[in-house]
């Protein structure tokens, strides 16, 4: 096993908390404008304005991605085969 200090800093265990805090900071910056700007709903005529509510794009992106990952995981149970499946 290689000494943690000889690794590139990206792979050091002690870098992990720093990397996570950077990411969270970026996310916070991304939602900050929500306090200042007003979104225009895309489907006013249809009476739908959820896309203009606070932080819609943030939670919609997060939740749909989670759904896709979980969905893929479930489908994977049925569809995954060893990568030598077709070789014989």
């Amino acid at each position: 096993m290689i000494d943690d200090n000889n690794k590139h800093w990206l792979y050091r265990k002690k870098s992990l908390p720093i990397l996570w805090s950077i990411q969270i900071a970026i996310l916070v910056v991304a939602v900050l404008p929500e306090f200042f700007i007003h979104h225009h709903p895309h489907f006013e005529k249809q009476g739908i304005n959820i896309d203009a509510t606070w932080g819609f794009f943030a939670w919609y992106g997060f939740l749909t991605c989670t759904a896709m990952v979980v969905g893929a995981k479930i489908l994977g149970i049925f569809l995954k085969r060893k990568d030598t499946y077709y070789d014989d």
Binding site: Y11, L27, F56, F57, G61, T66, A67, K80, R81
Partner: protein, 574 residues
């Protein structure tokens, strides 16, 4: 100069196609020069032929129109020429001669399709594309034993598509009496068949699997060529032939999510990118189904941008494959340290495909989603939005993360021992050029907007759009890292529709072979016994001792003559 070219009404695709066939004849620097000059010559011709349908000549009782210059065709021919140039540059030092020649014939026939004014010309070049792209794959058989079988499966799918397309075209010409390639309605068997033929090449369900099955078996440069032409020529054909066909919206949405789900499950880096082609073409197919001018502009612009960033991603992945000979995410990681050029270009391609602001994806894909919004298509818009997030997830982060970061796959090696960037500088230039275009189009979209099929008044850079896009993407990225344990790669592939023709029908065939073998054996036994008996009987009667083979005494004959005479006498008296 321009006037000189303007008088040349020659199908631009043929420059590349016939010029490509010259490549094996010449050698060394002349060949390299041809590889770089031919696409540029083609591009010049594409832009100097004035708009309109120029040449008509008779073929049997029909008219062929091989030089039909339209705004759509010119846009696709432009990006195809640029792709042939950059692909050629990337392939210059490493690709085999067979691959390079086939790739140029392939690119040339794709350009010829975009200049086809009639269905017969379109079909001829459509088929040349199928054959030459198979050759691109097949050319890698020496280096990759799986490539040969993959190329045959690929060819079978495209021959099937070709037969369906041809049946449709024949029926269409019979019904309407017209060979002109123009917008059609899905109101007859003929047009449905043509639509199906186009969709097979676009990677639509159920036969989507051919893309991820075949392309990743090609050489590093081979897959760059393959990713660009077939599916995007199909997008062109759908754009001209079936704008506003409602069914395309749903087929497109299926492709979008199919691509994401399969790419998420995949372990092979270039198969991830292959699934991502289906995903991206799905966006374009959906937009063609929406069918408004903005949507069609969106599909065309997205195809243009996609060819560039997908080629860039594949050149990056190809460089990794070339240098490490590894293609699985489970084996890769940490390469950003020693392959900085490949990594930076891969990341730029990944940002562009994810439609990050200031990249080509942002200014083109948003035309499609906006078109859905303007038409009040609520479900389509929300699904496209989710899919945009999903693109970042499956291609935008997954590819660079597992290949260039993740774990340090060369841990403990000194800098000199690690895998470096490709030694061939031409590969670097090809990647840098496409990176430049990804960002250039993103920063200055008007250049691309001005050559789109329809006039456009669209401003992608509004505060609202920038803020919402950043939120959508960054939180998708957050989901990726939060769910990283669930994304752990496994040594697996995922079953797809190709299971039917690679496993099910094979097993079925084997099973029937066993059964038919037994039946055949029993029947053959019976037949041979009968034949044996027939021969024995024949021998008995006609053999040396046979009754019918004996020599008859002349007395016998006299007796029979006497009997016949007696009979005739008797009859006379009666």
């Amino acid at each position: 100069m321009t006037e000189m070219f303007a008088s040349i009404l020659f199908p631009p695709g043929l420059v590349l196609l016939l010029g490509g066939l010259l490549l094996p004849v010449v050698e060394g620097k002349l060949r390299s020069a041809l590889v770089l000059v031919l696409p540029l010559l083609t591009l010049t011709l594409v832009w100097t032929i004035p708009e309109g349908n120029h040449i008509h000549f008779g073929f049997m009782e029909y008219t062929l129109q091989p030089v039909n210059s339209t705004a759509e065709g010119r846009l696709f021919a432009t990006i195809f020429s640029i792709m042939a140039f950059v692909g050629g540059l990337y392939a210059l030092k490493t690709a085999s001669l067979t691959e390079l020649t086939s790739a140029f014939v392939y690119a040339g026939s794709a350009i010829a399709v975009t200049f086809s004014g009639d269905l017969i010309t379109l079909f001829i070049f459509w088929e040349i594309m199928a054959l030459s792209s198979t050759m691109v794959l097949w050319a890698n058989s020496k280096n990759n034993p799986k490539a040969y079988a993959a190329s045959i499966r690929y060819l079978l799918v495209h021959l099937l598509g070709g037969v369906i397309l041809m049946a449709g075209i024949v029926a269409y010409i019979y019904e309407t009496g017209s060979t002109t390639f123009t917008a059609m309605q899905t109101d007859s068997v003929a047009t449905w068949l043509i639509l199906a033929g186009f969709l097979i090449n676009a990677g639509a369900p159920p036969l989507s699997a051919w893309i991820a099955d075949a392309y990743p078996e090609a050489s590093p440069s081979g897959m760059v060529f393959l990713s660009a032409f077939t599916t995007k020529t199909a997008v062109f054909a759908l754009l001209v032939g079936f704008p506003g066909a409602d069914i395309l919206i749903w087929i497109g949405l299926y492709m979008v999510f199919y691509g994401i789900i399969y790419a998420l499950l995949e372990n092979d880096m270039r198969r991830i990118l292959a699934y991502s082609i289906v995903n991206q073409v799905g966006f374009m197919v959906t937009a063609i189904g929406i069918g408004t001018e903005l949507a069609l502009n969106g599909a065309a612009a997205h195809a243009f941008a996609h060819i560039i960033y997908k080629a860039l991603l594949l050149m990056s992945a190809g460089s990794v494959l070339l240098m490490t000979a590894k293609r699985k995410c489970t084996d890769l990681g940490g390469l950003f340290q020693s392959m900085p050029v490949t990594a930076v270009n891969g990341i730029i391609g990944a940002l562009a495909i994810s439609a990050f602001p200031f990249t080509s994806g942002f200014v083109t894909k948003s035309l499609e989603t906006s078109a859905a919004a303007y038409e009040g298509m609520v479900i389509v818009w929300f699904m496209l939005l989710a899919a945009s997030a999903g693109v970042f997830l499956h291609a935008g982060i997954k590819f660079p993360w597992f290949v260039f970061f993740q774990k340090d796959s060369e841990e403990g090696l000194s800098k000199a021992e690690r895998t470096p960037d490709p030694h061939h500088k031409n590969m670097h230039w090809a990647m840098w050029f496409f990176s430049f275009l990804c960002i250039g189009i993103g920063v200055y979209p008007q250049a691309l907007y001005s050559i789109l099929p329809y006039p456009i008044d669209y401003q992608p850079y509004t505060i609202d759009h920038l803020v919402t896009q950043f939120q959508l993407l960054l939180f998708s990225g957050f989901a990726f890292f939060a769910l990283l344990p669930m994304m752990k790669r496994t040594l697996t592939i995922s079953l797809d529709f190709d299971w039917f023709y690679r496993r099910f029908f094979k097993v079925l065939g084997d099973e029937f072979t066993i059964k038919t073998k037994t039946v055949f054996g029993v029947v053959m036994d019976k037949v041979s016994i009968k034949i044996q008996r027939f021969i024995e009987k024949l021998y008995k009667h006609h053999g040396p001792q046979g009754v019918l083979a004996r020599t008859w005494p002349s007395g016998n004959m006299v007796l029979w003559v006497a009997i016949i005479l007696a009979c005739s006498l008797l009859l006379y008296y009666l």
